[in-house]
Subunit: 196 residues, 2 copies
Amino acid sequence: MTAIEDLIRLLKHLPGMGEKSASRLAYHLIRTDSSFNKALGSAIMEIQDRIHPCPICGCYTEDELCSYCSSPDRDNSLLCVVEQPQDVLSISSSGAYNGLFHVLGGAIDPLSGIGPDSLSFPQLMKRIDEGGFKEIIIATNPTEEGDTTALYIRHLLKDREGIAITRLASGLPIGGDLGYADKLTLARSMRGRVRI
Amino acid sequence: MTAIEDLIRLLKHLPGMGEKSASRLAYHLIRTDSSFNKALGSAIMEIQDRIHPCPICGCYTEDELCSYCSSPDRDNSLLCVVEQPQDVLSISSSGAYNGLFHVLGGAIDPLSGIGPDSLSFPQLMKRIDEGGFKEIIIATNPTEEGDTTALYIRHLLKDREGIAITRLASGLPIGGDLGYADKLTLARSMRGRVRI
């Protein structure tokens, strides 16, 4: 196997990459600036050695604690529960949230063998027990699995007094078009309609 | 900038990769098997050091000459002229050609500043002078630039006796659908219709 075939074979393992796109990408890398390839190659090789999950919230960090858990400027009365570490970045970069995070590591999905035991609920409950949180914002995905997980968290927290439990609003995406919205999204945005 | 942001920034430079897909790919790499990342990273870092253009035909090789130019089993009366090194792999893997190749390094495209001087026409003419080729198959892309390049090669070779000059057939792609074919392709396939 030649060096190019070898590179194409590896690139084909990336998500969404077929034979043609892997080959196009390989030839693109061949023509590209060699310092870029060195930087990209070493970033890929080193990424897993450079980061680890934050022991408190579970999002990725290079330091002992992540930038959210260690920041004195964030509102520590708010806790946003997400499925995956990348969701932390998405929500934090929306600019609409300044509280703390908790990464579950997925959503409850019995068909894929992911039960509550596979997720970081004990750590979540421990944080809530210790934390003095006023609001738990459940930001799991608006999917069946995400909804199940949200209901499960509400069930876990049903006896806690003084903690508001909320869920991200579902509805039409901004800039979207009614004609392209699916029925479920449209139904949710109708049920969740707000007074203007 | 964190290690993840750094990786996303580099991935975003790849063709067809936006902010979202770069971020999704980065988190995929974080979760993936670390030996895969080591293999992919080093393949990307080393690719340009491991290969170089074949001094005869211009396609990429790891050896002194490429596998086509050095093979005793290929028909050295046929020469297929292509634009890019990756076209060699495409044609060779179609299984319909067993001759030699010549890589031009692009197509004539005055609007992008690529004139005949930027391409390997002198090497092509030298090979044809020395080569004893019976047929030159022009396999440039079926685009305006590819057509211009094909006409230019025909012009260069107009005084050569005994060398057939051919061009890859254009027409409907196999498995295609008339309804989805563009007008130009349909017109070409009509003009180039064959008796059955």
